[in-house]
């Protein structure tokens, strides 16, 4: 039966969307006066679970008990009234209102039916004083930093709900000092007996502030453990879903064909404040460089910098010894770079364009819009890649949105291959595609690098990286922390590198 220590107990929660199981029989419990970290990679079901607890989604089955009572919040407002408050990462408060208006929106103190602004100001000041904030509550929220807004959001949520506080990646855009301020607020709330659920990607932060951790993977509960006495290694293997033993290395590159030539593309001290710390990276022709790390470790940010989507604010990039400036994707393409983004549907394909048009896009972009590619040439190009990459159905005129994920991915690859790039960056190239296409894409990556192309592959599938990469860069907390090459490229070593506590980061 229910443990009186638990303020919140969710049992056997299940939820599916259009037949896709998002949560499968997940149990979760939260004690009074506890900070409970909820971890998992993308698609693990963290946000679905949170949205069920906070009334955004309704569950398919299972029970939620709050303070021993069965509850089923139908919307955010109801969850708030029950005592469950949420602070989201970005969409949070209203920048166009004052601090006081934000704190009391929907529950303004009234006199004679009208908002009592003076009372609202007074109570706002009192409320924020408890968090050590002494600011002008009549100023617009937009005049304050993200860290202060975060504390205001917490103050509002706690004042409103008072039993359970859910924080969805609260530290994503804070610097180390701001994180420390936030954590001292959380510790104080914990001492007041509040139950706090913290979603974060930063393991250091989990160890710094959390008491317990629950890990989800692929919609299933992996386990709930006390942080004390839980080795990092074990936590990471819970998240990535790998046993530490029996890791065999099936690496073709270990058989002696590691490219040893002179690196042609260099990034020196390349970085962007608040996105990824400066790193050095040299890529040889015909080399596959893998990038590994947990979600939020700076994987995609690295790709964005390499491809000019984000501008570096430090360091230099050189190709063949001459310095280049990657100020935009256009500049990157002009230098022979290509990029297949992680969010294929939103960032990669243009759904209503035909396969042929999608393939011709990058080539067209490089030629400039003034010189359209003749449709005959486009069709020939499409026919060639449809044959060589085995894109199915083999119809160049079909809108690409009707193709399967794997075939869409091949078409995007074809788009870049048509420009004959010297460096191709692939962000999660095999996510969401079936096993057959998965193997084909890996095979193609190998083939491309034997032809002398350089590739940077970002993946959360460790097997994938160990199978194709000659070198693996390991990222953690937005830093390049380790580099493994040759025979050292094993899933075990990657996990050990991720687990190594990052001593330079305070939080």
């Amino acid at each position: 039966m229910s443990d009186p220590q638990n303020i919140l107990e969710a049992k056997a929660i299940a939820k599916s969307f259009l037949g896709n199981v998002a949560l499968d029989n997940v149990d979760f419990s939260l004690r009074r006066g506890e900070i409970h970290a909820l971890l998992g990679e993308n698609g693990a079901g963290k946000s679905t679970l949170i949205k069920i607890l906070t009334g955004v989604y309704s569950r398919d089955s299972g029970t939620i008990r709050l303070d021993g009572e069965d509850v089923s919040p139908a919307n955010v407002g109801e969850a708030q009234v029950l005592g469950i408050g949420t602070v989201y990462q970005e969409v949070n408060l209203l920048e166009n209102l004052t601090v006081a208006e934000n704190l009391f929106l929907g529950r303004q103190p009234r006199r004679f039916g009208l908002t009592d602004r003076r009372e609202m100001r007074r109570r706002s000041r009192d409320l924020l004083a408890r968090y050590g904030l002494d600011i002008d509550v009549d100023a617009l929220l937009s005049t304050y930093s993200v860290a202060i807004r975060q504390i205001i959001a917490i103050a509002r949520a706690v004042d409103l709900s008072g039993k359970v506080l859910v924080l969805d990646e609260p530290t994503a855009s804070l610097d180390a000092q701001e994180v420390e301020v936030l954590f001292s607020v959380l510790r104080k709330l914990k001492a007041d007996g509040l139950g706090i659920i913290l979603i974060t990607h930063f393991l250091n932060q989990v160890y710094a502030v959390a008491d317990r951790v629950t890990v989800l993977r692929n919609g299933r509960l992996v386990g709930s453990r006390d942080i004390d006495g839980l080795p990092r290694m074990e936590l990471i293997s819970m998240m990535l879903g790998r046993e530490l033993q029996h890791v065999t290395r099936d690496h073709q590159a270990s058989e002696g064909d590691v490219p040893t030539g002179e690196a042609a593309i260099h990034f020196n001290d390349y970085g962007k404040r608040g996105s990824i710390s400066p790193f050095d990276l040299a890529i040889r022709p015909g080399e596959v460089v893998g990038i590994a790390g947990l979600l939020g470790s700076g994987r995609s940010e690295t790709a964005f910098l390499l491809f000019g989507i984000d501008r570096a604010d430090s360091g230099t990039a050189t190709v063949d010894g001459s310095e280049i400036s990657l100020t935009s994707p256009e500049a990157a393409i002009a230098n022979g770079f290509g990029f297949c983004p992680e969010e294929r549907k939103s960032d990669g394909i243009i759904g209503d364009f035909s396969v042929a048009e999608n393939i011709a896009l990058a080539l067209q972009a490089r030629q400039g819009w003034a010189k359209p590619i003749p449709s005959r040439q486009r069709q020939a190009l499409a026919a060639e890649f449809i044959r060589s990459l085995d894109i199915r159905p083999a119809d160049p005129d079909r809108p690409i949105k009707f193709l399967s994920g794997g075939n869409q991915q091949k078409a995007i690859l074809a788009r870049w291959l048509a420009t004959n790039p010297r460096l191709l960056i692939l962000d999660e190239p095999t996510r969401g595609i079936d096993i057959g296409a998965h193997a084909e894409i890996l095979k193609m990556i190998e083939k491309l690098c034997t032809e002398g192309m350089s590739l940077v592959v970002i993946s959360s599938e460790l097997e994938e990286l160990t199978a194709i990469a000659h070198r693996v860069i390991v990222l953690s907390d937005r830093k390049h922390i380790a580099e493994l090459s040759g025979a050292d490229v094993t899933a075990d070593n990657i996990m050990h590198a991720i687990a190594a506590p990052n001593r330079t980061e305070a939080a």
Partner: protein, 328 residues
């Protein structure tokens, strides 16, 4: 210190005062209470409608149906009173119920069918105009002792100016609208929706109820503006007040309300109306200028204000960035 969010309003007020001073230097008669009284009465119906439009724009929406609803109201009142012999008060009550219901229905469509306000109210604009034609395509004059009483009611200023019932109604609407916007939960919710609808919803703002309430308010005030217009012209005509919604939008924007929503004041719209009226009055006084100069000046002012608003947003963002870099 002036808060940057009130800067557009303060600018509008300053422009109005300077412009009025310049006009008064050239034509001292423009200071007379008669001119002021006429300025108010000539723009009463526009002002009433513009209050509704301010709520809509503050919430990040738009209402294109206003002019058509005014025309519908005037024809409806003229026909029911003149031809069917209803008492004007009954006709007023009926038409306000209809226009409010019409606005609510548009709000419900915007919210529950997730159709952009521009599209829904464009359809509403055609629908209301069509309904007005259906009732009568002729200009229908009305006269009724009760209406004469209202039209004959006014306060006399020293100097001969008149504060008519219509002007008083407009001023009352502005005052009540201002209180609702600034001092009620509904008003705060309107600003919240205009700031960021997702955040507002997550903060527990009843989005559906508020959206419907906003368009119902706009519908109600369009109906009220239609009644004021009927009294002003003593007739109903289905071809009248074409494009009044655009004049209302202009008054709102010149009054310092951000077209993207979330920032602005009802009082600003009042100044916006006065500025439009002042330009018209100046043209009348001058006597040689084409009345199209009103549109040209309004156009220039709109450009100035949109650029000003952009500038303020840019400036305040920059200030935050700088503050952040300094680690404040």
């Amino acid at each position: 210190m002036i808060h940057s969010r009130n800067l557009p309003f303060v600018t509008t007020l300053a422009i109005f005062i300077i412009a009025y001073a310049l006009c008064a230097i050239q034509f001292p008669a423009m200071l007379s209470t008669r001119v002021i009284g006429n300025l108010l009465v000539d723009n009463a119906f526009l002002g009433i409608a513009a209050v509704g439009m301010t709520f809509v724009i503050l919430s990040g929406g738009i209402d294109l149906s206003i002019g058509s609803v005014i025309a519908f109201t005037s024809v409806f009142v003229a026909v029911t009173v003149g031809t069917l012999g209803l008492h004007p008060l009954t006709a007023f009550a009926l038409v306000l119920v209809i226009s409010t219901a019409f606005g609510s229905a548009m709000g419900a469509m915007i919210r529950y069918l997730q159709i952009p306000p521009f599209v829904v109210t464009l359809a509403g604009m055609f629908l209301a105009r069509g309904a007005a034609y259906l009732i009568s395509t002729q200009s229908v004059p009305i006269s009724h002792p009760f209406l004469d009483t209202i039209q004959g009611f006014y306060f006399r200023f020293p100097g001969g100016g008149r504060l008519t019932a219509m002007s008083m109604l407009m001023i009352a609407v502005f005052i009540i609208g201002g209180i609702i916007a600034a001092r009620t939960r509904f008003g705060a919710n309107v600003y919240a929706l205009g700031g960021n609808p997702q955040s507002a919803e997550l903060m527990g703002v009843p989005v559906g109820r508020t959206t419907i309430g906003i368009y119902a308010t706009s519908g109600f005030l369009s109906g009220l503006a239609g009644i004021a217009y009927t009294l002003y012209t003593s007739s109903g005509y289905s071809l009248a007040t074409v494009g009044v919604e655009l004049d209302a939008i202009a008054a709102v924007v010149i009054g310092g309300t951000l077209l993207t929503g979330g920032t602005g004041l009802i009082a600003g719209t009042f100044i916006g109306i006065l500025i439009q009226g002042l330009i018209q009055t100046y043209i009348v006084f001058d006597g040689t200028l084409s009345s199209w100069w009103t549109k040209i000046v309004i156009g220039i002012l709109l450009f100035v204000f949109i650029v000003l608003q952009r500038g303020i947003i840019w400036y305040s963002n920059r200030r935050i960035d700088i503050a952040r870099l300094k680690g404040v």
